[in-house]
């Protein structure tokens, strides 16, 4: 019986070992750890440590859990909330969050807010549809977090698929449904208005967004991120600038950033669909738009900014690609965060007119450009 179990573990280990991250920088560190562990007289300890290290450095798990997956996402969430508040404060001649931890210029402000939310009462009001009201903030994470499994960073990839771009777009299109359902379950008039506005914005940006992404798929003649990134010795932004522009604006609309902050307009409808949420449930729904922004920015980087292409540092080995992808994504998001403190909000009819008139027209032209370049033999 035990022999079967050991065989099974050996088999798993062989699978894990066959697909390990190759990072020259940490090889001596791992060797040192193994050396120290081997001296401790506990049976099977070195095997266990070996197994744990093999699991952490297994490429699919590393992609999903560490980089560019959940760990980076958490750090990014802390960073972006702080960065946004700090930047807005600087533009308004203020200081912004500071005193919570001075050496880091208040960078852990979002952590303090999160902890406060965690220990606050989560009110489920009388009129709410109780099961949906509580479940939906958690269910909403499924379409947000699933694309991370499909988005590759060089050799580090969760699930390898030639249709990764299409899959990501499909998942992103699912997110507004959960937001509308959240508003519906809240059963409050502000939440209703917010839901309807979310639906209106959805029809305004979704078609140009998909068409712009499809134009890039036509341009590279594939939906496989590897082929797309390989072909980008000129960044996609220069090859098809109209698709770049349309995608950028659609990204602002989709994540309800400020010029299009229509569903969540806190001056008029008090955070729209999320008005009734409190405590940790509000913490969950508040980061939804930021996570959506992260996924869309990953896609944006892969399609237009050369993905994980960058200066290769041989010491980092396989870690090069995730690091470059993350850096590019964070830079894109930081630039988008800047837009927030610069522009006023559009009226709802103006936003929909933009979506259905020139944004749609530009996306069609971008599609034509993509088809022409792709038909001419690509790059």
């Amino acid at each position: 019986m035990i022999e079967v179990l050991i065989d099974l573990i050996r088999y798993f280990l062989s699978i894990l070992k066959s697909n390990q991250l190759d990072i020259p920088l940490i090889k001596p560190i791992i060797a040192l750890i193994m050396k120290i562990v081997a001296q401790i007289p506990i049976p099977y300890l070195s095997n266990l440590v070996d197994f744990i290290l093999a699991v952490i450095l297994w490429r699919p798990l590393f992609a999903v859990v560490v980089m560019p997956g959940l760990t980076v996402l958490m750090i990014y969430l802390l960073y972006i909330v702080w960065f946004e508040r700090k930047l807005t404060a600087r533009i308004q001649w203020r200081v912004g969050p500071l005193e919570v931890y001075r050496p880091l210029r208040g960078a852990i402000q979002a952590l303090a807010d999160g902890i406060r939310y965690l220990f606050q009462e989560a009110i489920v009001h009388k009129d709410a549809h109780r099961p949906y009201f509580v479940q939906l903030p958690i269910l909403a994470f499924i379409p947000v977090l699933l694309p991370i499994a499909f988005i590759p960073a060089g050799n580090v990839v969760g699930i390898k698929s030639p249709y990764a771009v299409q899959l990501t777009i499909a998942f992103i299109s699912l997110i507004p449904i959960t937001v509308i359902a959240i508003g519906w379950a809240s059963n409050s008039r502000f939440a209703f208005i917010g839901s309807v506005r979310e639906a209106l914005m959805y029809v305004a940006y979704e078609i140009p967004f998909i068409v712009a992404a499809i134009s890039m798929i036509f341009l590279y003649k594939s939906g496989d991120p590897y082929i797309i990134v390989e072909n980008q010795w000129i960044p996609g932004a220069i090859l098809n600038p109209l698709a770049f522009l349309v995608f950028l604006i659609a990204m602002l609309m989709a994540t309800s950033r400020l010029p299009f902050e229509i569903p969540e307009a806190d001056q008029e409808i008090a955070f729209g669909p999320f008005v009734e949420y409190s405590g940790i449930l509000f913490g969950l729904v508040m980061v939804l738009a930021y996570e959506k922004l992260y996924v869309m920015a990953l896609l944006f980087t892969i399609l237009f900014l050369g993905g994980w292409n960058g200066i290769y540092i041989s010491l980092l080995g396989d870690l090069n690609a995730p690091i470059w992808l993350t850096i590019k994504t964070i830079v894109v998001i930081s630039i988008i965060a800047m837009v927030r403190s610069m522009y006023a909000r559009y009226r709802i009819d103006q936003a929909i007119r933009i979506g259905f008139s020139w944004l749609l027209a530009f996306s069609m032209v971008a599609l034509a450009i993509g088809v022409v370049i792709g038909y001419e033999g690509g790059i």
Partner: protein, 349 residues
């Protein structure tokens, strides 16, 4: 409130709880008075309350701090309570300004309540209005209270010993002077160069009025007896006067009467447009009843209700009963001269 403070200071995660709550005190917008300007100042570029983690937020559900800015009236107390109930626990209250402390310039007003009677208050900031520094200091002290359980106050309270047998010390009363004479005269005539006024007076004298007097350019005062008011109003409506501009009551306790004034004017007839008739009647104070004109002139309805609230005059024919503008628990007839405010005893029983 101690209950919330206990929650934060207890359990194994107490340091984490108090740290998170301390650096994330988000005040909700509940601006009732001029202290709101100081609050805006405290969170704008000069002082920047966001430095210490306080972010003004629009919605009660996602916040944990109320800063009561100024006077809380009886009607606003309900709003304060609702806002407080909407917020998730643990939640805190800071009261800002003299009005919130003890009434301030509205001290002992019939329509004022103290926030501490409505919600549990954690910290008071005196001043009229408090400076932004004082407000930020208040938030700092609340943080300190969350951290150590005790806020530091710069106020010093003297120890006063109670001596039995001595009369209680009261705050000086509000001066209320009721003069017997001279009486209030509404229809004091004045000579003005106004030809049309003379013609109008001749027409009005035919009606069943007690006296007609020109009190100024375009102003005519008609004295009627209380039971004739309605008949006169019907006649005036036939003449072209079509609306009531205001309804007034003057309390004259020296002569034991109320003077009820209706200011009647016209929108439809061009030459009557600038003219304002002051049709007034005197009613005894102990039996304050008069006919309502709200069915003849609908615009009188609102102000009749208001006068009913403030003076307790019943307008026969006006169906409104109960409080109109005042909160339901306001003491009765606060604008009558004999209305007594509640006296405050600060030493003694």
């Amino acid at each position: 409130m101690d209950e919330f403070l206990n929650f934060i200071k207890s359990g194994k995660l107490a340091p984490l709880k108090s740290w998170g709550t301390k650096w994330s005190l988000w005040p909700v917008h509940l601006v009732t008075a001029c202290c709101g300007a100081e609050l805006a100042h405290a969170f704008a570029c000069g002082y920047d309350g966001e430095r210490i983690g306080a972010l003004n937020y629009g919605i009660a559900r996602q916040t944990n701090l109320i800063i009561v800015e100024g006077a809380i009236t009886r009607k606003m107390a309900r709003v304060l309570k609702i806002t407080w109930e909407q917020m998730p626990d643990p939640k805190f209250v800071i009261v800002m300004g003299a009005c919130g402390l003890n009434g301030g310039v509205f001290w002992n007003g019939y329509n004022l309540v103290r926030p501490s009677e409505v919600v549990p208050v954690d910290f008071f900031i005196p001043g009229c209005p408090p400076t932004p520094e004082a407000l930020l200091r208040g938030i700092r002290q609340l943080q300190k209270k969350l951290e150590t359980g005790e806020a530091e106050s710069s106020a010093y309270f003297y120890d006063l010993r109670l001596e039995k047998g001595k009369p209680p010390r009261r705050l000086p009363g509000v001066p209320k002077k009721i003069s017997a004479a001279p009486s209030i005269v509404v229809n004091r005539p004045r000579k003005v160069d106004w030809a049309f006024g003379g013609e109008l007076c001749e027409k009005l004298k035919v009606l069943r009025v007690e006296s007609v007097a020109i009190t100024g350019k375009n102003r005519i005062a008609l004295k009627v007896s209380a039971d004739k008011l309605r008949e006169v109003a019907i006649e005036l409506k036939k003449m072209g006067f079509d609306h009531v501009k205001s309804v007034n009551v003057v309390d004259v306790p020296g002569e034991n009467k109320f003077i009820v004034e209706y200011h009647i004017s016209s929108y439809s007839s061009k030459e009557l447009m600038p003219v304002i008739l002051n049709v007034f009647a005197e009613v005894p104070r102990n039996e304050a009843k008069i006919d309502s004109l709200s069915d003849l002139f609908p615009s009188a309805d609102y102000m009749e209700r208001e006068m009913q609230d403030f003076f307790g005059i019943s307008f026969k024919g006006n169906p409104w009963k109960g409080k109109f503008l005042l909160a339901p628990d306001t003491p009765e007839f606060p604008l009558r001269k004999e209305f007594k405010l509640q006296e405050e005893i600060y030493v003694g029983d």
